[in-house]
Amino acid sequence: AQSVTQLDSQVPVFEEAPVELRCNYSSSVSVYLFWYVQYPNQGLQLLLKYLSGSTLVKGINGFEAEFNKSQTSFHLRKPSVHISDTAEYFCAVRRPNDYKLSFGAGTTVTVRA
């Protein structure tokens, strides 16, 4: 079975500052990796995903993540955040040919002016 650990439950950050959200996973087989965002009162929206190939993945809204196989990590970064980035962020994994996503506990990002 696979599992996901998001190391920070809450991340306060000032507007225009960089942010990094940490995600580590464990799995006995290769997995696909995902970051989802949930804005208040909305569903989970895919930010980006890693399936294979280049370990640096770019997503929507200026986010990017880097897959590190040796450290089993998939950290999410944004060089300069906006107030509108205030949301909850979920890291998730899925085995190839499997249906279900396994999620981390989520990280709440609060951006202040």
Binding site: G43, L44, L46, A92, D98, Y99, K100, F103, A105, G106
Partner: protein
Amino acid sequence: EPEVTQTPSHQVTQMGQEVILRCVPISNHLYFYWYRQILGQKVEFLVSFYNNEISEKSEIFDDQFSVERPDGSNFTLKIRSTKLEDSAMYFCASTQLGASGTDTQYFGPGTRLTVL
């Protein structure tokens, strides 16, 4: 952009009552999913559904739960006799191709179920 919708946004029920949570997946999607998130805990997979059959389910999805696609657009989750511990946010999701790696699960906004 097409989206997954869920109704109601909030459901309050008494313990022991039956509830039905409704979802309208994206119209050309063929695979449907339910997840739940108990307050303060992780989002957990409940069940996946394809071609009018359950394709995978978790250990959480016991005999109290059932899913159905009653018509060409709705996908429902029924809890027969709710317990206090069923209180959670329930998310519906859909994909076009299922377990393919290039496919994305699109999620609805969730239904918050409160069991009193």
